[in-house]
């Protein structure tokens, strides 16, 4: 029985979830701009640029968390290298932003500042076309997808899984970090890309541009969530979950897990790449530390805190952890690592299903009590 695609997508989420997404989009696309632009700066209801940037940044992280949930929560594959795909997307879009600076850099040259600094005479070949938005937008998707495909193909083909897979993904992102730290790599060394001025000709610091980027991220997050929900509900998603739970049995039935895992792995990487591309113009910098193993493993904690295999959970987790981070690092900078560390421990020990699991448990207890 084939359903029209629209219907299938609509049935991916229940009414309540659609309502929630609607409220979220209304907040992000209407209320936030109004409170930011229309309300006077001294008013208590004014939303500062800091706040917009913070939420925009966290929404990018939430995208990564959803991507991580697809591969970890539904595929059973814990990647400790998702920071790599995020950074690759960021760097790809960063190239465009660097070229948009034009002659406004501190050296006033055609080349990006760091190339002038390193005494390069012309744009390296892999930068060609980076002044075209269309080409770079393509790179944002293609580069993470290609890296993920090549790595994933070899890894899944030889049935590397579990901890082995986690550790070699960590090694992969670590290797990439070392590579990007080098000046010769052509991506600005340890300073990465920064000092952006314009995007598509608009000033990158103007409130309007910021709001557009913010809104774009919000829409993309909603779309990704719906897409992911549809994906995991589809036949593909169900086979994937079956592979997660008993790979050998799925194989014996006649499925080849390789292509299922590879597909979800590449999709996950692409979402990360897009999140990275949206992150860079909002935060204004991309550097190799985004690929540090610590960053990638932190993504796992967002998912674990929210509850993996729930899609909405990782988004909640990303928000909870990152809001806590921005509060802690300002108020108690020396206790942030203690908090994050304890979060890792407590969530794994006490909340294996994360916050969403806790909520569900509380609800069933309540219902049980009422009955």
């Amino acid at each position: 029985m084939r359903q029209p695609l629209t219907l299938r997508i609509l049935s991916a989420l229940d009414t309540r979830s659609w309502l929630a997404i609607g409220v979220f989009l209304a907040l992000a696309l209407v209320l936030v701009p109004v409170l930011h632009l229309a309300v006077a700066e001294d008013s208590a209801f004014h939303l500062s640029t800091y706040f917009i940037t913070l939420i925009g940044k966290i929404m990018c992280y939430a995208l990564v968390a959803v991507a991580m949930d697809l591969i970890w929560g539904y595929g059973g594959i814990l990647s400790l290298g998702h920071g790599l795909f995020f950074a690759l997307g960021g760097y790809a879009f960063g190239m465009y932003l660097m070229r948009q600076i034009g002659r406004d850099g501190s050296y006033g040259a055609d080349l990006p500042d760091f190339m002038v600094f390193l005494d390069w005479k012309e744009i390296p070949w892999f930068w060609s076309g980076s002044d075209s938005f269309g080409w770079v937008a393509l790179l944002v998707v293609i580069v993470p997808a290609l890296v993920a495909f090549v790595f994933g193909y070899f890894a899944f083909r030889s049935r590397i899984k579990g901890v082995y897979f986690s550790i070699i993904t960590q090694a992969l992102t670590y290797a990439a970090m070392l590579l990007f730290f080098r000046n010769e790599t052509g991506f600005g060394g340890n300073n990465g890309f920064t000092d952006f001025k314009r995007v598509l000709g608009y000033s990158i610091t103007s409130p309007e541009t910021r709001l557009v980027l913010f809104g774009l991220t919000a829409v993309l997050l909603a779309v990704t969530l719906v897409f992911a929900a549809w994906l995991v509900k589809s036949k593909f998603g169900r086979v994937l979950t079956a592979i997660r739970d008993a790979e050998s049995r799925v194989m014996f039935i006649g499925y080849n897990p390789l292509w299922y895992k590879l597909t979800i792995w590449v999709i996950s990487a692409v979402i990360c790449g897009i999140a990275g591309a949206l992150y860079v113009p909002q935060v204004g910098i991309i550097n190799p530390s985004e690929m540090s193993p610590a960053n990638s493993i932190e993504i796992a904690i967002w998912v674990a805190v929210g509850g993996r295999g729930t899609l909405i959970g990782p988004i909640i987790g990303a928000f909870v952890v990152n809001l806590a981070k921005s509060w802690f690092t300002v108020s108690f900078p020396e206790y942030w690592l203690f908090f994050l560390g304890l979060l890792f421990i407590v969530v794994t020990l006490m909340l294996p299903q994360g916050l969403v699991g806790l909520w569900k448990k509380l609800m069933t207890q309540k219902q049980g009590g009422a009955a």
């Binding site: 814990l78 790595f151 070899f154 890894a155 083909r157 030889s158 049935r159 590397i160 579990g162 901890v163 082995y164 986690s166 550790i167 070699i168 960590q170 090694a171 992969l172 670590y174 290797a175 070392l178 590579l179 730290f181 080098r182 008993a246 790979e247 050998s248 193993p293 610590a294 493993i297 796992a300 904690i301 674990a304 020396e334 206790y335 690592l337 203690f338 994050l340 560390g341 304890l342 979060l343 890792f344 421990i345 969530v347 794994t348 020990l349 294996p352």
Partner: protein, 526 residues
């Protein structure tokens, strides 16, 4: 007293040999012009006569005088004829001989060269060594003479080199050719630079000599490269030992117990800070025995890290056995807590841990191949720790219990093994071994709160490549990775080498997902 001795010595020298030196030559030492003096000194040196030593020494000590046309050595109230050494009447108004800095330098070189004829082997050896760097063409005959007399092979070898260097400026192309050939046998960057001018047509007219010099430089380059490669293998070996020390603890906690201990790097850090703490304790209370802080730190580090391990196991890891991915996340949390604790206890900056004096210096195998003592000691220490682990795991009751529990927990429990306590002990053992590794690391790299993070990826690579639960695998993997990466570093640079290693490991795991030493058997689901 010294004066008396000198006199006696001078006397002893004069007794057997009488008036061998040419008086006219000696007279030249008092020439007005410095250049003439230098020529006279060189001429006198070439005689290789023990009496020449006496005269030159006197000149260097400002006790050589001119009395009319006769050179005399005046010592206190006695005077001797410089040429013959015979006591003479004290001259009325001796004329002093000016010795400026240039002459002093020349005298020092001449005396060093003349030491080649000393009776003591050690003196001759030291002199031959000293001459390697300051040989002048005029010394050639002297060196030839010394070579004739010399019977010791080591000194002969050095003299041959010095002689060849001195002969490079000889007028006869045949002599130069022989010299170049002799120098081709050496392994020293210094000799290479001596030969380099001879490859130029402007400074070397003879084709044969020039070609020979080019060939000789090639030969020296070849040997230099060999030494360099041997040096790389050694540094690879020492890197391998460091990797092994980092990974041995993991081989127990991960390999045997199945726990992904992401806090392993921080256990290394605990060991390194223990070394720092012991250093501070010794500085404060036992400054005379400061060199011994390192041996004292070894047990301290072991027990400190083991204690941290016990706490970790009892509070967190205990609840996660069998849930590998969860141990990964929880221990990562533990590592963050440990990092922050170290920051608060010792500060965010790196601390300075000094090498004890007995670890400085090294063994010189070739002119450009020096094995530093601290690296050698770390290799030895790694072997010691390896032996310790092997003994503990294979020869003790604890080791037997650990193996029993990991192989069949239920059965081990049934026959009375206290499984929970064994888990704690095994984890503490792995942590303690990491602490030992930390002591070694404190000697070669920075000690700071973040140091553990740098080793965690490497340590896991070793365990993964070696194969889970395989001590031998960890050893081979550590040494292989160490040597391979140092050889790669030689021509590709450190970062590219590291990246290629990681990529190579990823490919390697494709081929052998279970590591070098795979456990044999069939698995459906693991």
């Amino acid at each position: 007293m010294t004066k008396l001795l000198t006199i006696l010595l001078l006397y002893a020298c004069t007794l057997p040999a009488h008036a061998v030196l040419d008086a006219g030559q000696i007279r030249q030492l008092a020439a007005d012009d410095s250049t003439e003096k230098v020529a006279a000194i060189r001429l006198l040196t070439q005689t290789a006569d023990p009496d020449a030593v006496r005269v030159l020494k006197a000149m260097a000590a400002d006790s050589l005088f001119l009395a009319g046309d006769q050179a005399v050595i005046i010592d206190g109230d006695q005077a001797f004829d410089a040429a013959s050494g015979v006591a003479v009447k004290m001259p009325g108004a001796p004329e002093s001989i000016t010795v400026n800095n240039r002459i002093r330098g020349e005298l020092a070189g001449a005396l060093a060269a003349l030491k080649l004829f000393d009776a003591e082997r050690e003196v001759r050896l030291a002199s031959a060594r000293e001459l390697q760097s300051k040989v002048s063409p005029e010394m050639a005959p002297l060196l030839a003479k010394a070579l004739e007399k010399e019977s010791d092979p080591e000194i002969t070898a050095l003299l041959t080199l010095a002689h060849a260097q001195a002969s490079l400026g000889h007028a006869d192309p045949a002599v130069r050719l022989a010299a170049v050939k002799a120098l081709a046998e050496t392994t020293s960057p210094a000799i290479k630079s001596v030969l380099l001018p001879l490859t130029d047509k402007a400074s070397e007219a003879d084709d044969k000599v020039r070609y020979e010099a080019i060939a000789a430089i090639k030969a020296i380059d070849g040997r230099l490269a060999l030494a360099e490669n041997l040096g790389r293998v050694f540094s690879g070996l020492s890197l391998g030992s460091i990797l092994l020390l980092g990974a041995l603890g993991l081989a127990i906690t991960y390999g045997v117990m199945g726990i992904i201990n992401m806090a392993h790097g921080e256990l290394l850090m605990v060991g390194a800070y223990s070394a720092y703490a012991m250093q501070s304790v010794f500085r404060a209370w036992l400054p005379d025995y400061i060199d011994w802080y390192l041996p004292a730190a070894i047990p301290v580090a072991f027990f400190a890290a083991a204690l941290v391990g016990v706490v970790m196991e009892r509070t967190v890891i205990r609840w996660l056995y069998g849930r590998t991915l969860e141990t990964l996340l929880a221990t990562w949390g533990l590592s963050l807590v440990l990092i922050q604790s170290a920051r608060m206890l010792f500060g965010a900056q790196n601390v300075e841990v000094a090498n004890p004096s007995w670890m400085s210096g090294g063994i010189e195998l070739m002119p450009n191949l020096i094995l530093p003592w601290n690296r050698i000691i770390i290799v030895g220490f790694a072997l010691f720790v390896l032996l310790l682990v092997w003994l503990l795991m294979n020869k003790t009751r604890l080791g037997m219990f650990v193996r029993a529990v990991t192989q069949n927990r239920a059965m081990a429990g049934c026959v009375g093994v206290p499984t929970a306590r064994i888990d704690t002990m095994a984890f503490a053992l792995g942590a303690g071994i990491a602490g030992l590794g930390g002591v070694a690391l404190s000697q070669i790299s920075n000690v700071g709160p973040d140091m553990g993070q740098g080793y965690i990826v490497d340590s896991f690579m070793v365990v993964v490549v070696g194969g889970v639960g395989q001590l031998a695998g960890a050893v081979w993997a550590a040494l292989g990775l160490g040597i391979f990466s140092k050889l790669l570093e030689g021509w590709a640079g450190a970062v590219i080498a590291k990246i290629s290693i990681l990529v190579a490991i990823i490919i390697f795991i494709q081929k052998r997902p279970q590591g070098i030493f795979a456990l044999k058997g069939r698995f459906v689901d693991n």
